[in-house]
């Protein structure tokens, strides 16, 4: 009987411990889909037959050996960008006839990310890929998936500006340091910047002045909220006085993720630590949400998810402040070369391009964004080297300049930025409404003049989830305002709880998930019972021996 009881207690401990260990392992800072993704990649990590050896830099590039490398790229619904990629490939193939580059184009980064994830377990990733550092952090959960560029960047033969490179490649020092730093993931360079952008506030100057205001040098949030509320006044016919139309949404923000991220950065109120501890769900964020709610309720503020593209409303004279990427500048303004609404709905006005609004005008802060490039590891180091050379080719001055001209992008090398060709391009702002479209060039200048004021959010596996959560807080509050739902501290606390749960953020913020804590408590109790049982047994045994 005693032996049986002992065995049973041990089994209880095992029974409790195993699932609890599973629980403890389960909580990670990833979304539902990311959770599946991490699991898929982990399979690669553990599957010895699929795991690749770490890339070792070859002594020389074998120009006789044939390679076909794949390049997964993204364009912004802009055929000029596609043509630049194709031209770059043609030029590269003529320099390196043993390398064939196959281009695969995507419309958004999310699709590239998903396809890469799907292909990691089978080692069928692309060779070169346009991507974001957040995504690379997830790719790196697989073993030797993304090639660290440490040995490549400064290699004297094939590194940036290397002696054996067959084209005029920029040196490492000629890549804008702020942009290159953004490519450090897990402590090492895992990417090169390709293009950079930030967000701009596109302003209908005519409407601002009609409302009796003057656009300040540095926009503030208070200014935007105030003008936006003023723009809600209606005339005797029920039309908005400022535009004479039935529709007016004075302030539309395209990316609410960025909105919350930049607000918290400007206030230094907490977003996340570098190692992924979530700080976002705090009282200052709560205050921001109350303010946003107020203006969403009066309908002076809305978002892309609720009211569609800011540029469309802006161009129709139904929006005064449209905040969108500088990389979308060709779609914004009365004379924009790309238009997504019918011509009869276009309204003529002057567009002013400013950095996003600030809380501290003396210390402006704005996000740095834009595509980077990484290369994936392959069995053949020569193939990896071919990929590296192609990726490096995309930093050539003429590609950097021509691609940046397709949108309000900025070249990522100081060499391209300081070149006569690029300077001339900037100087011809407004000469036409195409290549020299003034809004587009103003958007690019905005970033050039504020590079030192840019920042990025910490990058770690799952950082993309926190980014989504940050935006969703704004979206939920804005929707509640429109639905006449009241908000108070209880509402915000419940919202925090829901969003943390939806994006699986509890683990990082507060340690283990509640379920894991619960089971760990059970383990403790069972072990106490077990130890108690043995102590009692020992006492009884000794007692019996004495007797």
């Amino acid at each position: 009987m005693k032996n049986y009881l002992r065995l049973t207690l041990i089994l209880i401990c095992i029974a409790v411990t195993v699932p609890c260990m599973l629980c403890g392992c389960h909580g990670t800072l990833v979304s539902d889909s990311d959770a599946d993704i991490s699991s898929d990649i982990a399979t690669n990590d553990m599957g010895v037959e699929n795991a690749l050896n770490e890339f070792v830099m070859p002594e020389n590039f074998d120009t006789e050996k044939k390679h076909t490398i794949t390049f997964w790229a993204k364009n912004d619904t802009n055929v000029n960008q596609t043509e630049i990629y194709k031209q770059a490939i043609r030029e590269f193939e003529s320099l390196y006839p043993n390398v064939k580059v196959v281009l695969q184009l995507y419309n958004d980064y999310g699709k590239i990310y998903n396809d890469v994830i799907t292909n990691i377990p089978t080692n069928t990733t692309p060779n070169v890929c346009i991507t974001y550092p957040d995504h690379i952090a997830t790719y790196l959960t697989g073993k030797n998936t993304v090639v660290s560029l440490e040995s490549l960047l400064e290699n004297s033969k094939y590194g940036l500006g290397g002696s054996e490179v067959k084209f005029d490649s920029p040196s490492k020092n000629e890549v804008v340091p702020e942009f290159l730093e953004e490519c450090i993931v897990n402590g090492k360079y895992h990417a090169l910047p390709y293009m950079r952008s930030t967000e701009a506030c596109y302003i209908n100057k005519d409407f601002v002045e009609k409302l009796g205001y003057t656009i300040p040098d540095v926009l503030t949030w208070d200014f935007i909220w105030e003008v936006s509320e003023a723009a809600m006044a209606k005339d005797e016919n029920g039309n908005f006085a400022v535009n004479g139309q039935k529709i007016m949404i004075p302030f539309i923000y395209k990316s609410t993720d960025n909105m919350m991220i930049q607000m918290t950065k400007q206030l230094e109120s907490g977003y996340s630590t570098d190692d992924g501890k979530v700080l976002l769900f705090n009282d200052k964020t709560k205050e921001l949400l109350y303010t946003i709610y107020e203006h969403a309720k009066t309908r002076s503020f809305s978002t892309f998810k609720i009211s569609s593209y800011p540029g469309n409303s802006f161009n129709a004279g139904q929006c005064i402040f449209a905040i969108d990427s500088t990389a979308g500048a060709t779609w914004i303004g009365s004379n924009a070369p790309l238009i997504d609404i019918s011509k009869e709905n276009l309204v003529s006005f002057e567009t002013v391009v400013k950095p996003i609004p600030q809380f501290d005008v003396e210390n402006p802060k704005m996000i740095s964004q834009g595509p980077s490039m990484c290369i994936f590891n392959k069995e053949d180091p020569q193939e990896v080297l071919a990929s590296w050379l192609f990726m490096q080719y995309l930093l050539s001055d003429h590609i950097q300049i021509s691609y940046s001209q397709t949108e309000g992008y900025v070249p990522v090398t100081s060499r391209a930025q300081n070149s006569d060709v690029y300077k001339e391009y900037l100087s011809r702002k407004g000469e036409d409404n195409n290549l020299y479209y003034d809004v587009k060039i103003s958007a690019a200048e905005l970033l050039i003049n504020n590079t030192e004021n840019t920042f990025i959010t910490p990058v770690y596996n799952g950082s993309a989830s926190l980014r989504n959560a940050a935006g969703q807080l704004i979206e939920e509050v804005a929707k509640s305002a429109r639905r006449n739902e009241k908000i108070d501290d209880a509402y915000i606390n419940e919202l925090y709880k829901t969003i943390k749960s939806r994006y699986k953020l509890e683990t990082i913020e507060g340690g283990l998930p509640a379920i894991s804590i619960w089971f760990l408590a059970i383990i403790a109790i069972v072990w106490v019972i077990l130890i108690g049982y043995f102590v009692i047994s020992m006492i009884r045994k000794r007692k019996n021996t004495v007797e």
């Binding site: 209880i12 029974a15 599973l22 979304s31 019918s342 709905n345 929707k479």
Partner: protein, 247 residues
């Protein structure tokens, strides 16, 4: 005592395993629910608390709505959200990113009757239901396309928004792939009585492997075609084509 311990152990094991697996997505199955054959027509009576189409149409944007309708088209499933075209006897409803597992998405075959509770909203002119929940009801109906050719260019056309509709004898003006890439959406400009209309083969709804995608790819300017599709709106009518027949 023995039984009690074994019972405790089993319960703990079961609870633990459930908790450990709790966060994972429901596994997708390919099992299609067996559906009754489509009946002759849709129910015209609504359950208690369910809006008629007229009530739905009159409801303010951002208000809560409860509707019953039959699935007519499935546009996509991603991240536990599905997008559907649904319709009842009087009108149509676009369900944007309705939360559902992949298994539920597969169960919602064309014809399935569902009750949906959500919020009415509008995005670039497209009226849709978001933040919704659903339940599957008894009943099955597949709509026939309503000919709205005569409504082109008229204000009344918007009253048919999201319905399965048809247009006769349209002239193809141009065909273009989004971003000039095969496999992407196809932008189809057609004309009728001197006015042009922008339609679309939405790749999420009808992918490059579908008959309609291939048929549209083969069209050229000047072709006269009959078109069927869902009357989607994007800053104006932007029918999502589901069938095309050259005349």
């Amino acid at each position: 005592m023995k039984k009690l311990l074994v019972l405790i152990m089993a319960l703990v094991m079961a609870l633990g395993c459930l908790a450990a697996c709790g966060g994972s997505n429901d596994s997708a199955t390919n099992d299609e629910a067996t559906k009754d054959e489509a009946i002759a027509g849709p129910d015209t009576e609504k359950s208690e608390g369910v809006m008629t189409y007229a009530e739905y149409a009159a409801a303010a944007l951002d208000s809560k709505v409860v509707i019953e309708a039959y699935v007519q088209g499935k546009q996509s499933w991603w991240d536990n959200k599905g997008t559907f075209y649904t319709q009842d006897a009087d009108g149509a409803y676009f369900l944007y990113e309705m939360p559902c597992t992949e298994e539920e998405y597969n169960q919602l075959t064309v014809g399935t009757k569902i009750k949906v509770t959500g919020y009415k909203t509008e995005w670039s002119g497209e009226v849709e239901i978001i933040d919704s929940t659903f339940e599957i009801l008894e009943g099955n109906w597949v709509a026939e396309a309503t000919d709205v050719t005569a409504l082109l260019g008229k204000d009344e056309l918007i009253n048919k928004q999201n319905m399965l509709v048809s247009f006769d004898d349209m002239t193809v003006v141009s065909i273009a792939y989004k971003n000039e890439e095969v496999g992407n959406d196809i932008y189809v400009t057609v004309s009728k009585d001197g006015a042009n209309y922008d339609f679309c083969v939405e790749a999420y709804l009808t992918s490059a492997e579908t008959e309609v995608y291939k048929a549209v790819e083969a069209l050229k300017a000047g072709d006269i075609v009959d078109i069927e599709g869902f009357l989607y709106w994007y800053n104006g009518v932007n029918t999502h084509i589901t069938a095309v027949t050259a005349n």
